[in-house]
């Protein structure tokens, strides 16, 4: 079957099998930031934004998002300039092996769009579906808060 996906502003018309998951299709299209980990809707590593909302691409049928807008980490940075959440993750040492980071960045981005001034509890609630086995989460929570401050600042474009 044929579907259309708008991924990071790029329109893709593709043929898929009806049972294909979004994760597989995005990786086939070259969006390698979208990673498989648990494949049981438990870890958040495969998170992408569909119409601005974080979802799990490992458990979403590609056919079910036909015609919708999808964002991956590839769409966040502008050339060499990293997104404020990516910058903050680097500055706070919030990535070690880095495998879970695309999911965390996108969930954080969705949170800050919805709530530009999140409390610690808001961040914990938003990120509780993103499992990280390296950092212990505190540095990631700090990074989201730091990015929020940067994104609220006048110098943020």
């Amino acid at each position: 079957m044929k579907i259309t996906l708008n991924v990071n502003g790029n329109l893709h018309e593709i043929n898929i099998d009806p049972g294909d998951y979004l994760l597989e299709i995005l990786r086939d299209l070259g969006y390698k930031s979208v990673r498989r980990s648990c494949h049981s809707a438990s870890c958040g590593t495969c998170t992408v934004l569909v119409n601005g909302k974080p979802i799990l691409s490992c458990s979403t049928f590609a056919a079910s998002v036909d015609g919708q807008t999808i964002e991956t980490v590839e769409g966040l940075s502008q050339g060499e300039k990293l997104h404020p959440i990516q910058e903050a993750i680097l500055e706070e040492g919030a990535a070690q092996c880095g495998y879970c980071i695309p999911g965390i960045v996108l969930t954080g981005e969705a949170l800050l769009r919805e709530n530009p001034e999140p409390s610690d509890d808001d961040i914990k609630l938003a990120l509780n579906g993103n499992v990280c086995r390296c950092t212990g989460y505190e540095s990631q929570n700090r990074a989201i808060k730091k990015a929020a401050e940067a994104m609220r600042g006048d110098d943020y474009e």
């Binding site: 597989e24 809707a41 909302k53």
Partner: protein
């Protein structure tokens, strides 16, 4: 990839969706949020019938009832301004404990009820609010209570189109115990009471993940009638739940552990209700 899937349908009407299911029930499945279907990974599934094309994803008010489209996501439901206005923080807080943010953006209210999952926090909370369902089956549309839906014979699978919740002034609270913040419940408890002059005039007490599907405990509900809502009330609720809990054991917990947890969760829920009523 769900490898045996050969067809993917997007019906435009409820009737069309049901006919598609009836055409080959053995190999077909309704897709609402999709989390259950994807995780089942069943080789039996050859035909997916996507219900999102039905656009049953709105929350509206009709006289004294809130009518929720079955494909409304759990997250949209908990954040809906109408739900917050009519039910305060009950659904907002309770459903924040359902899975993760990602899962709540995918899972739907109807899809959380339809598979009759034992651990469903959504079902437990809705049972406590006395929710009804609009379903479509071989005889057309009919309205049934959620508790009756759970009692339907295994072969009878009508399509849930709407969830109907009365705005009746009941006060509700929910508590859940799980191993991690987004794990399924080891046990969950939802309690609703109709307060009148400082006493419980009527109550609904629901325990879920027993591990069977959530059910009301009428013996406890009857015992709570006319009970004064005071500092002692929560401990009475705890004792009643401990003495009357029915359920079983599975790999998550033994019956004895569940009974203890359920009683503690019930006490916590009753504490919340006490504070709200006061």
């Amino acid at each position: 990839m769900l490898s045996n899937v050969k067809e993917y349908f997007r019906p435009k009407t409820v009737e069309e969706a049901f006919e598609m299911m009836e055409a080959d029930r053995e190999h077909s499945i309704f897709l609402s949020g999709g989390t259950i279907v994807a995780l089942m990974g069943s080789s039996r599934i050859e035909r997916i019938i996507d219900l999102k094309s039905l656009r049953l994803d709105s929350v509206s008010i009709k006289e004294d009832e809130i009518v929720v489209g079955a494909t409304t996501t759990v997250e949209a439901f908990r954040k809906d301004p109408l739900m917050r206005k009519e039910f305060g923080d009950f659904f907002y807080d309770s459903f924040s404990l359902v899975g993760s943010w990602q899962i709540r953006n995918m899972a739907t209210i109807g899809g959380s009820i339809a598979p009759k999952l034992g651990w469903s926090d959504v079902s437990a909370c809705l049972l406590a609010t006395g929710a009804g369902l609009m379903v479509y089956g071989p005889d057309g549309y009919r309205r049934i209570m959620l508790s009756d839906y759970f009692a339907l014979p295994a072969g009878e699978k009508p399509l849930i189109t709407h969830i109907i919740i009365k705005k009746d002034g009941w006060v509700s609270a929910f508590e859940k115990f799980s191993k991690t913040t987004f794990d399924i419940a080891t046990v969950n408890v939802a309690i609703s009471v109709r307060p009148e002059r400082g006493r419980i005039k009527a109550a609904r007490v629901v325990c879920g993940s027993r591990p069977q599907y959530p059910m009301r405990f009428e013996t406890i509900e009857n015992a709570l009638e006319e009970l004064e809502i005071n500092d002692v009330m929560p401990s009475i609720v705890r004792s009643l739940v401990f003495d009357n809990f029915t359920g079983g054991s599975n790999m998550l917990a033994s019956f004895e552990y569940r009974k203890h947890l359920a009683s503690v969760m019930a006490q916590k829920a009753a504490e919340k209700i006490k504070e709200m009523v006061r």
